[in-house]
């Protein structure tokens, strides 16, 4: 069995599983946010139970439109808060909260071998910890909050092997954008994506979280990594409960095996209006920009902040370009502050925001007007994603985004002298 099949089998009491099997799976964690929780709560209340199956296994994080952007979102945040507090759920108020997919791994709430479902498509981020994690809608989450289980179809697994050593400035974002550019936005539809190879072994945890995060952008049900020393080191000091490590069987049959030479992969940019519309930085040409966003559940972690600070140190954001930097959690923010990164950002002429999903989905904190262009470390560049339907979002990793902020056009980090 593959890693995903092993984890799912252990959660539905079966010895063997094959792709396509319909199973009912016990879940270790159920997640919702300030946009999806209100519908989940309304649906939950129709089911006819008073309490969630286990309040310690239901997490609610206000992060999309919080700190509240307007009265309507304040009402949604309030509804979620009242439900979470009355049920005794795991809940993070402003001051503790961060972007859900940044704080759950950080706080040891998601662990290897877990099955996690969340009413947010980027729940697949937790595959970086060797968990099976997938996004669902509010009604699925409502049912799982009541029963502690959920039906699903066992997905086929596509194995991606990244050989070789990555060039300087190439990170997890570039590998995943390159992959989506190759297979397309439905190239892994309904499938699990397992990432492996020499280049993957070299990646930091932050880079792996970025890769798993964007599995959904290829239509994937999950992105997953086998547990190695890096994952164990990451979870050891954080884990709030015991966990199990699963490994794929030797000689496992995969639905497909796709191999790349990571040493030839350049920093990538996804042009409007699909994440698969990628070009290597050398092929971008002259694209002038109005705004840069560095943050989100994709690239709002400390290593992303360090890369941005390295390039911005003693340099300036290009005159009349807005550079918005959003640490993904209070911990990332504090670490950046203590290490002088925030000072470097502000001195360079960037603005720094409290953690929020904000501009990524066109919520607030950096909405684009018609005709404006943004280079963003976020995950989607669909029409109107960050504001006007006539604006453009270019997706990139933190190195390209920061270099672009300095140059005022899409630029690679090698151009910064």
């Amino acid at each position: 069995m593959t890693l995903v099949e092993k984890i799912l089998a252990a959660h539905c009491g079966k010895k063997e599983l094959s792709p396509g099997d319909l199973i009912n799976v016990r879940v270790d964690l159920v997640l919702a946010n300030d946009i999806t929780a209100p519908i989940s709560i309304k649906e939950f209340q129709k089911i006819g139970v008073d309490k969630v199956f286990d309040p310690q296994k239901v997490v609610m994080v206000p992060d999309h439109f919080v700190p509240n952007k307007d009265i309507a979102s304040a009402e949604q945040a309030k509804m979620m808060r009242e439900f979470a507090l009355s049920q005794g759920l795991v809940y993070f108020e402003v001051g503790e909260m961060g972007i859900e997919h940044v704080i759950l791994p950080e706080k040891g709430l998601v662990l290897p071998g877990d099955v996690v479902i969340g009413a947010d498509s980027h729940t697949c981020t937790y595959g970086a910890l060797g968990a099976f994690a997938t996004g669902m809608g509010s009604t699925d989450i409502a049912a799982a909050m009541a029963t502690g289980d959920i039906w699903m179809k066992v997905p086929p697994t596509i194995k991606f092997i990244f050989h070789g050593k990555m060039s300087k400035w190439v990170g997890g974002k570039d590998l995943i954008l390159y992959t989506i550019g190759d297979i397309g936005v439905d190239g892994a539809l309904y499938s699990a994506m397992e990432f492996t190879g020499d280049a993957i072994a070299d990646l930091t945890m932050d880079d792996r979280l970025t890769m798993a995060n964007m599995a959904i952008e290829a239509g994937g049900k999950a992105g997953i990594f086998c547990v190695d020393d890096k994952i164990e080191d990451y979870v050891k000091s954080r884990a709030i409960r015991p966990y199990n490590i699963y490994k794929p069987d030797p000689n496992t049959q995969y639905a497909q095996v796709i191999e790349y030479d990571a040493s030839t992969i350049e920093p990538q940019v996804a042009f409007p209006h699909l994440p698969s519309n990628t070009r290597p930085i050398s092929q971008v040409g002259n694209v002038e920009i109005d705004q840069v966003v560095i943050g989100s559940c994709t690239n709002g972690r400390i290593n992303d902040m360090i890369i941005a600070a390295k390039l911005l140190q003693k340099r300036r954001v290009k005159k009349n370009v807005r550079c918005i930097i959003i640490p993904g959690s209070q911990q990332v923010y504090l670490e950046a502050l203590r290490n002088g990164l925030i000072e470097a950002f502000i001195e360079a002429g960037a603005v720094v925001s409290t953690p929020t999903c904000g501009p990524c989905l066109g919520g607030y904190m950096g909405i684009l007007a018609a005709g404006e262009r943004c280079v963003s470390t976020t995950n989607r560049n669909f029409v109107g994603r960050m504001g006007s339907t006539e604006s453009e979002v270019y997706l990139a990793g933190p190195a390209v985004a920061t270099a672009s902020a300095i140059m005022g056009r899409i630029a690679g980090p090698e151009e910064i002298r």
Binding site: L22, N24, I35, T36, P38, I39, K42, E43, K46, I47, G48, V49, H64, F65, K69, D70, A72, S73, Q76, G118, A119, D120, S121, T123, G135, M136, G137, S138, T139, D140, A142, A143, A146, T147, D149, W151, V185, D186, L189, Y190, I216, G219, K221, L274, L361, G362, G363, R380, F382, V383, G384, R385, T389
Partner: protein, 169 residues
Amino acid sequence: MIIKGKVHKYGANINTDVIIPARYLNVSDPDELARHCMEDIDSEFLNRLEPGDIIMAETNFGCGSSREHAPLAIKAASVGCVIAKSFARIFYRNALNIGMPILECAEAVDGSDAGDILEVDLSTGKIINLTKKRTFAAKPFPDFMLKLIEAGGLIEYTRRRIKAGGPIS
């Protein structure tokens, strides 16, 4: 259940951001969401839409965010059903969970044009293009899914399951 309506046709990768833009996600009332359904891809959609009409699209309909607001907006706008060559998986679950009929049928999509009148039988998956006088067969639902649909969606299905107190499966 028979649905009859005219076709509104779209391309591939119709994502949840264009079905219901995030700027409207500060509310979850379906009727409120319906007022902005498909706004960012087709600002005239709601003006042309008549109750029971059918959205048709190429592959990967509903990709992107997990927002259930997307099928909710389509359902509350009185769309009869969505027929696509394929659906993104979260949208597929969400639609069935809230009782929004959807069907996969590449042949029907290739064999129909915008404005054609279709008659769709959800229980058999039979799609008749009345304008072109052609019949197509959609992929039938697995038994498991039919049970869920018969119950009227996931919440009623779960309510019954809990009330029955039976084993989980």
